[in-house]
């Protein structure tokens, strides 16, 4: 089934969809320009704007549901952005509205949570300003009806991410991490930009409606090129191999940031881009294949990294990488996979945000300690956090009937049908997930207390626990709601198309059983190693493989060896060349003329007879020249 036509729309909540973007943007502007004057109510304004944005999203969703499925792609013209290149408009369709709901809903919860989490930070207002900025940019990204506006949002979230990772910028590590995130993202943007240039050169337009509607007319070579370039962009934003390295460092940011940006929403933008550009990928098999390979590679890499991390946030970050790997894998499969990719994206948004916020709650209780080796036995002191975290945990490992069970297993099943190798690797990934998530839970909430003497853990305030509770409810039921009866796939079909034959859900399938078995083995292994056994307070010397995982698969080492060192060397060389070579040439020329002058002026000896000689010789030369010229 092909995607539906876009219908120009005005009026109603959808007509006011721009408010979704504008409201948080205004919030950010007020808080940033208002300065300290807005300190008192800054966080409240931030929450208000996020919630208001959610309300608009919800109303738009309602209105959209009111249309027949084939008329659910509504375009709203805004203004002529770059005359001749791009008009800006919004596209409200099932795909974008799903994202809007996720972003604004989870976003609002995280805003609320942050009131408590950031309560003691003197710059809380600024934090909320950045959060609002992020929400606005993210919404622009998903609502844009063309690639330029998408790119504006794309970079906007990058900026917000930069600002929020480096929020505690007095910490050099945070500042470095922020910079790294931005630069690595820029590498991705490099691909995305060139992809956009290629699109423009091919179609002379950047509007989704024109490009995607005519994609089939372009040669497959062009489409492959565009697809791969867009993939580079997606890799950067979604921390897929080989541009994954920034995500782990990004955990330097405050935990709500990790939850919102680096788990639930921004990092999934790559998946959105691929799904949105579906018609391009569908015309380019090679590109699709590469997408799936990247997805699988990342889901394994993320999982492996997750197994060895003692920093609770980094372990979760590895998990995020891995889960997004699943989504990318699904997105690379084509229309069958799109719905699963987005569904998993949404459920992941809930349960991963849930877990990140839970981790934040733990850190909040433990004086911002992130090393799980210094946790243990927290289930009793933090019951709410523990229960909500446990739900998230069960959801992610695919415990039957919880969200992850439906969405992730859907992806695995689809992959298995698409390509058995990919499928089995995805199953393997699920097994590892079972291990590292269990390890995380056991190390944190079970076992013996390994707290620092100064730690006095306590349950977090209600403003932090309520978002956890709400998110965990989503983590429980959302998967079933979306997947059962192909509800989401049907809903999404007008936007991204759908397979001719809807897949049916088998509660008991060989793949599903294999997955469950592997997950159980992984969890059991974790129990033996970290639940029952004593966890050393200092990480023991580890095997080569563990070190490999601890060092993020040597991703940073590789970057350093391949890019940073040569880059620094190149920079020094260039500076040297510029000073000595280019500028040296200029100054050398000047010095040369000066030197000539200095030597030549010695000819002016001051002796009148030597002057006379020059006249005499000059006369001879002149006469000689004349004779020569005259007799030519």
């Amino acid at each position: 089934m092909e995607p539906a036509e876009i219908i120009q729309h005005s009026g109603g909540a959808i007509g006011a969809a721009w408010l979704m973007i504008a409201l948080p943007l205004v919030g950010a502007a007020v808080l940033l320009l208002g300065g300290r004057r807005t300190d008192k109510f800054g966080h409240l304004l931030g929450v208000l704007m996020a919630v208001a944005s959610f309300v608009v999203a919800a109303l738009s969703f309602m209105q959209l549901l009111g249309f027949a499925p084939g008329e659910r792609r509504r375009g709203i013209e805004l203004y002529d952005f770059i005359p001749g290149l791009a008009k800006v408009g919004l596209l409200v369709d099932p795909l974008s509205i799903s994202f809007c709901l996720l972003i604004t809903f989870v976003g609002s919860l995280i805003h609320i949570y942050s009131i408590g989490y950031m309560a003691h930070d003197p710059n809380r207002r600024r934090f909320f300003a950045y959060l609002n900025l992020f929400v606005a940019a993210m919404l622009l990204l998903v609502l844009a009806d063309n690639y330029v506006a998408l790119f504006v949002g794309w970079e906007g979230v990058g900026l917000a991410s930069y600002l929020l990772i480096g929020f505690w910028q007095h910490k050099p590590s945070a500042a470095t991490a922020a910079k790294k995130a931005f630069i690595v993202n820029r590498v991705g943007d490099f691909g995305l930009l060139i992809g956009i240039f290629t699109i423009f050169a091919t179609f002379h337009t950047l509007a989704f409606s024109d490009v995607l509607g005519n994609a089939s007319k372009a040669s497959s070579g062009t489409l492959t090129a565009i697809g791969l370039l867009l993939l580079v962009g997606a890799c950067g934003k979604s921390a897929q191999l080989p541009l994954q390295s920034w995500l782990l460092d990004a955990m330097e940011g405050p935990t709500p940031v990790s939850a919102l940006i680096h788990a639930a929403t921004m990092v999934t933008a790559g998946v959105y881009l691929i799904v949105r550009s579906g018609p391009i990928f569908e015309g380019a098999g090679t590109a699709q294949l590469v997408v799936t390979i990247v997805g699988v590679a990342t889901l394994l890499a993320g999982a492996i990294i997750g197994t060895a991390k003692d920093d609770i946030k980094k372990a979760l970050a590895g998990s995020t990488m891995s889960q997004i790997g699943y989504m990318v894998l699904a997105a690379g499969i084509g229309p069958v996979g799109y719905a699963f990719a987005i569904a998993h994206l949404i459920t992941h948004g809930f349960f991963k945000a849930d877990m990140f916020l839970g981790a934040g709650s733990v850190m909040h209780a433990m004086n911002d300690e992130v090393d799980m080796r210094k946790y243990g036995a927290l289930r009793k002191v933090m019951p709410v956090t523990f229960v909500t975290f446990l739900i998230g945990y069960l959801a992610i490992i695919g415990f039957p009937l919880l969200s992850g069970y439906f969405t992730k297993d859907g992806i695995i099943e689809t992959a298995m049908e698409h390509n058995a190798i990919l499928g089995w690797l995805a199953v393997l990934g699920a097994g590892i997930t079972g291990f590292y998530m269990s390890r995380l839970v056991f190390m944190t909430f079970f076992g013996a207390k390994r707290w620092e003497p100064t730690a006095h853990p306590h349950e977090s305030p209600a403003v932090m626990t309520w978002p956890l509770i709400i998110l965990s409810i989503g983590a429980i039921g959302l998967g079933a709601f979306l997947v059962l009866g192909n509800r989401f796939m049907t809903f999404l079909a007008p936007a991204v198309g759908a397979p001719e034959e809807m897949p049916s859900f088998h509660p008991v399938s060989p793949t599903g059983l294999a997955t469950l078995a592997l997950v159980a083995i992984g969890a059991a292994f974790a129990w033996f190693k970290y639940g029952r056994a004593e966890v050393p307070a200092v990480a023991p010397r580890a095997s080569f493989l563990t070190t490999f995982a601890r060092r993020d698969l040597y991703g940073d080492a590789l970057n350093e060896a391949l890019f940073m060192r040569p880059g620094q060397w190149l920079t020094r060389l260039a500076v040297f060349f510029d000073n000595r070579g280019v500028d040296g040439l200029v100054n050398g020329l000047a010095a040369g003329i000066g030197g000539t002058s200095g030597r030549l002026r010695r000819v002016q000896t001051g002796f009148v007879r030597s002057y006379a000689l020059s006249i005499f010789l000059g006369a001879a030369v002149l006469a000689g020249a004349w004779l020569v010229v005259g007799n030519l």
């Binding site: 000066g594 002058s597 006249i615 030369v621 006469a623 004349w626």
Partner: protein, 517 residues
């Protein structure tokens, strides 16, 4: 040979400017002889200024009345458009220079007294003064007027000497640094006489070739006389030596820095402006009227000379540390630029007119700026007299911004920055040269200009961007004359830089009548 001698017809009206200047010079000599010492200065100054002004008025009157198309005085003197224009220019420049000379500080009280001797002391006590300066100057100016107007080589030679001999003397009359001044006089004299001999020998050879020293007749002979080309070529080369020497073209430039440096600054100003103008006028006339038919031969030779001159002038100037020497080298470089204009004279009247008018304009522009620049030099003094060393000029911009600013402006004009007269001067000759296919020469010209800009800019750096030395020179309160000179020069530099059209028109009209052949 019928026994009667025809009285030569002399067009006195045409020659009136010359006669006025020479007459005033002779009156000046008489004043020296008969007027009491205390009156001499009081008589000389008005006499000199009035005669120059009168001569200028007569030249203007002549120009308005109509430019004659035939040489005057039996073909000896050609009062044509270019000559009148050059006369006007020289007379104004001379007038301005006289205003500088008026300041007696510049000249020695008694030239005969040995420096440092008791006689010199006495002459200082007596406040003795060489008021002969004025008649000498008038003679020199008379020579300058005659030189470019001379229509035969003998007159040219005589004019050359009349112009040069008083200048040799004037060079040696500086009040301060007398050793340098005397050295300048000796060098200028010996080398000047040496080069005059070349000029004369060239005249002789051309006389041998053509049977006449009349320029027009020489030119006629060019096509008709055969078999004596060697005489012609060597003769032309020897004439060239004499003329290029006066211009200061390489390789005959060596005297210029030494003489410019040693001479009393007002005399340097006169030489750098008036002599240069006169010499270029004569060069044009000799080569264009006398050897016009030979231009295929002299143009390539001048090509080389021009390139050498520009390059030598520009390159040697950048390491100079003495302001007057630097200006001298700058003058050499400008001589090179002006030679481009000479080479640019072409074959059609239109081409000639544009080249010639460009050259004339350049001469006016350069002359004024030069006089102004040297006038500024006279004002910057320390205990030992004028402060010539460039390091002494450091920070002048802070101490007397107006003077330094004016000087910087002159320097920018030398460098040929737009909105100064120097720019249009250069532009005019460059354009004529390009129009006549001498583009490579112009490229050398602009490269030399760029190099030359360095040392002008260096002085500005010193004056404005460096901190003043603690015991730096002071700027004397200018006498009214000096102030007037600086003012006039600055005004001319501005006006010619912003609205050059009237003077260009004038030069154009003058050039249109071309040289009388």
């Amino acid at each position: 040979m019928n026994g009667t001698i025809q009285a030569p017809s002399i067009e006195y009206a045409l020659l009136a400017p010359l006669l006025v200047v020479f007459g005033a010079a002779i009156v000046g000599v008489l004043v020296e002889a008969f007027a009491p010492r205390y009156l001499r200065s009081a008589i000389h100054l008005p006499l000199t200024l009035l005669s120059l002004a009168g001569a200028f008025a007569l030249a203007v009157w002549q120009a308005i009345k109509g430019v004659p198309t035939k040489p005057a005085a039996m073909g000896a003197v050609a009062v044509d458009g270019p000559a009148l224009f050059i006369w006007g220019t020289i007379l104004i420049l001379a007038f301005v220079s006289v205003l500088l000379i008026k300041d007696e500080e510049h000249f020695v009280g008694s030239a005969a007294a040995v420096p440092g001797s008791a006689e010199e002391e006495q002459s200082l006590v007596e406040r003795a003064a060489h008021t002969e300066v004025y008649p000498l100057l008038l003679f020199a100016v008379g020579g300058m007027l005659l030189f470019p107007a001379a229509n035969d080589l003998l007159v040219a030679f005589v004019a050359l000497e009349v112009m040069s001999l008083p200048l040799y003397l004037l060079c040696g009359l500086a009040r301060r640094r007398r050793l340098l001044s005397q050295e300048a006089a000796v060098k200028y004299f010996l080398l000047g006489a040496f080069s005059s001999a070349f000029f004369l020998y060239g005249t002789a050879l051309l006389y041998g070739y053509a049977g006449s020293v009349d320029l027009a007749k020489i030119n006629q002979a060019l096509g008709t006389v055969g078999g004596q080309d060697t005489l012609l070529y060597i003769g032309a080369a020897m004439l060239g030596v004499g003329l290029l020497f006066k211009i200061g073209a390489a390789p005959f430039q060596a005297w210029k820095p030494d003489v410019y440096q040693g001479s009393p600054t007002p005399i340097t100003a006169l030489m750098a402006s008036g002599t240069l103008v006169a010499a270029f006028g004569a060069l044009l006339r000799v080569f264009w009227v006398g050897l016009g038919g030979l231009d295929w031969d002299w143009r390539p030779v001048f090509y080389g000379v021009a390139i050498l001159t520009m390059v030598v002038g520009a390159i040697l100037a950048i390491t100079q540390t003495d302001i007057k020497r630097m200006l001298a080298y700058s003058s050499i470089a400008h001589g090179g630029f002006l030679l481009i204009g000479v080479i640019a004279t072409g074959h059609t009247p239109a081409e000639n007119t544009s080249a010639l008018s460009g050259l004339l304009f350049y001469l006016v522009a350069y002359g004024f700026t030069t006089v102004g620049a040297f006038a500024v030099v006279t004002m910057v003094r320390d205990a030992g007299g004028e402060a010539w060393h460039l390091s002494r000029w450091a920070g002048l911009g802070k101490r007397s911004p107006l003077l330094a600013g004016t000087f910087a402006f002159f320097l920018l004009a030398f460098a040929g920055i737009p909105l100064t007269s120097g720019f249009f001067g250069k532009y005019a000759v460059f354009q004529a040269a390009v129009a006549n296919g001498a583009t490579p020469l112009v490229i050398v010209g602009v490269v030399a200009s760029a190099i030359a800009a360095f040392f002008y800019v260096r002085v500005i750096v010193l004056m404005f961007f460096s901190d003043p030395a603690a015991d730096g020179p002071s700027v004397v309160l200018p006498s009214r004359g000096t102030a007037a000179v600086v003012g006039i020069a600055a005004l001319a530099t501005v006006v010619l830089g912003v609205y050059p059209q009237p003077v260009l028109d004038l030069a154009h009209t003058a050039a249109q009548s071309l040289f009388v052949r």
